[in-house]
Symmetry: C2
Subunit: 318 residues, 2 copies
């Protein structure tokens, strides 16, 4: 059964007290470069610094009280871990987060800062899942998947809903795609709140599972994984892929060089802090001039959680 318009509207009302309505920014210099009117939905200014709080918060707030009392759990090295930790604190329950032992210190500290209990594991999928299962068995905590969960997809959909309500008559909306939670939610909100608008996605060449899955019609692995867009390494799930397959017109891939150029542009011209995954759609728009020129494009800037010490290396190498 498909997520309904009413479910997205209810999710939005539910999470509103806990999230920011993030601003939509424009930049005349970048518009000139793109030959288009770009409207940036700035989820880097969101609570926890990324859109992930929308899905996490919606999932937690829909749990029954007795279930919630056991706590919530997930495995993540990134923004979803912070989202679950933050959501647990907001609702007065406990968060159990499984993180790979090589997680960046800044992300570990952020999760700790929200009061979550961290369990470190070997940095592979099997170890993550084993550690998580052990926690769920022991505590009865509710597992909230980073993207392959309808409560999460419905929450992420509220981001495009806000954008479409603030900026009418967009010709297209473009979002990044990793596991597809944000992209599938975006596609549903466009379908319900601005049906004439076309949905696109941007994906790193070094994690190109989604573009491949769109071609074959089933969930595929990426040919290889090697990109600085560390928020987009995961592959689509059985709840996100069908929505994306049906409602997304095209997925464009971009190289790390193109991601770095877009990153630099956003820092230097828009003066905002974003993470590499976040500028993948902008890089795709700049690269595919023929598709986007002359149009009104909504771009989801997904987050701003970045290890700033890496910027210099990227910019100097480029």
């Amino acid at each position: 059964m498909r997520i309904s318009k009413a479910q997205i509207e209810q999710a939005h009302e539910r999470i509103k007290p806990f999230i920011h309505q993030t601003p939509v920014l424009t930049c005349s210099t970048i518009n000139k470069m793109a030959g288009a009117s770009l409207f940036f939905k700035c989820e880097n200014f969101q609570k926890i610094g990324a859109f992930k709080i929308r899905g996490g918060m919606n999932a937690v707030l829909t749990l029954p009280q007795d279930k919630l009392a056991n706590g919530i759990a997930t495995h993540s090295s990134g923004n979803h871990a912070q989202a679950i930790a933050f959501a647990a604190r907001q609702t007065g329950t406990k968060a159990y987060i499984v993180m790979p032992s090589n997680s960046p210190r800044v992300k570990v500290n952020a999760v700790k800062g929200y009061g979550a209990e961290i369990t470190f594991c070997e940095p592979n999928q099997q170890a993550r899942e084993t550690a998580l299962q052990e926690i769920v068995d022991r505590t009865g905590a509710e597992f909230i998947h980073p993207y392959n969960d309808e409560r999460v997809i419905t929450g992420q959909a509220t981001c495009a809903k806000e954008l479409l309500e603030e900026i009418p008559k967009l010709d297209a909306v473009i979002a990044p795609v990793g596991g597809g939670g944000l992209l599938s939610g975006t596609a549903l909100s466009v379908l319900y709140f601005s049906p004439g608008t076309v949905v696109y996605a941007g994906e790193p060449e070094g994690a190109a599972d989604a573009v491949r899955s769109m071609k074959s019609g089933k969930i595929e692995d990426a040919p290889y994984i090697n990109t600085i867009a560390d928020g987009l390494l995961t592959k689509l799930g059985d709840k996100t892929f069908p929505i994306i397959y049906e409602h997304v017109k095209e997925i464009f891939t971009v190289t790390d060089e193109e991601i770095i150029a877009a990153l630099r542009l956003v820092y230097e011209r828009m003066k905002i802090v974003v993470e590499p995954s976040c500028v993948v759609p902008l890089a795709a728009v700049l690269k595919n001039n023929k598709v986007f020129a002359g149009k009104r494009i909504g771009i989801i800037l997904s987050g701003g959680n970045i290890d700033l010490s890496k910027l210099a290396g990227w910019f100097n190498a480029a």
Copy 2:
């Protein structure tokens, strides 16, 4: 004769078509750290990336047509150079900019990008002034000083005017001080538009001429110059100092370590790009808890033009 309220109001109307009304942002994490309510006036989002366009634009727009036709000139390695270059392009005249030969490439390119004619000189004050005088003699261009000019001070005053109109009942406003153009303009706008509000300033320890001048009652040199806040190296002028001496309650100095800590906070928590000079007032507020706790404080974030490759070095050293 003192700059009047009407002059500031007229300057604001005059420059409005050419500038952004920049947003005022807040950050709950930083508020918690400061124990105060901080309202950040974000001139890093201003045209050319800094407040300087306000003064530059006001100076250019008040020139008579025949004078304007000869062009405008200044010496600057920083944001004022961009302001004059941008203002010249907006008014269809020519900009002559004297820049020290060691100016960062990114700043030279920005000035070139606005179509200005650049003359390089040895990196010292004498060489700058000689090169500028030669240009003025040859072309009849109007020299617009970066700060010691009433047209410039009046333009910079419009920044605090916007802040005070948007956020009423501020207990204090704090701005950075270099040559004093922004600070003297801020003091005048507070005097006219929010007379109960107290004006403070932040200054780097490594360019502490203003705090010394406030003590002695006359314009002093800094004991030494050594700070990453490269926009605040200049000393007060005979037009800015009297206003500051009369209307600014206190100037607080901060170390480069404190500047870097504040810089990191703004990047990581507010997710915006600012330059080191810009966070000196925030560093001063965090350092002087007894003065600011429990109050509503307006903070002028002056600009966001920064060589991003330097961030890593600062953050890793701290």
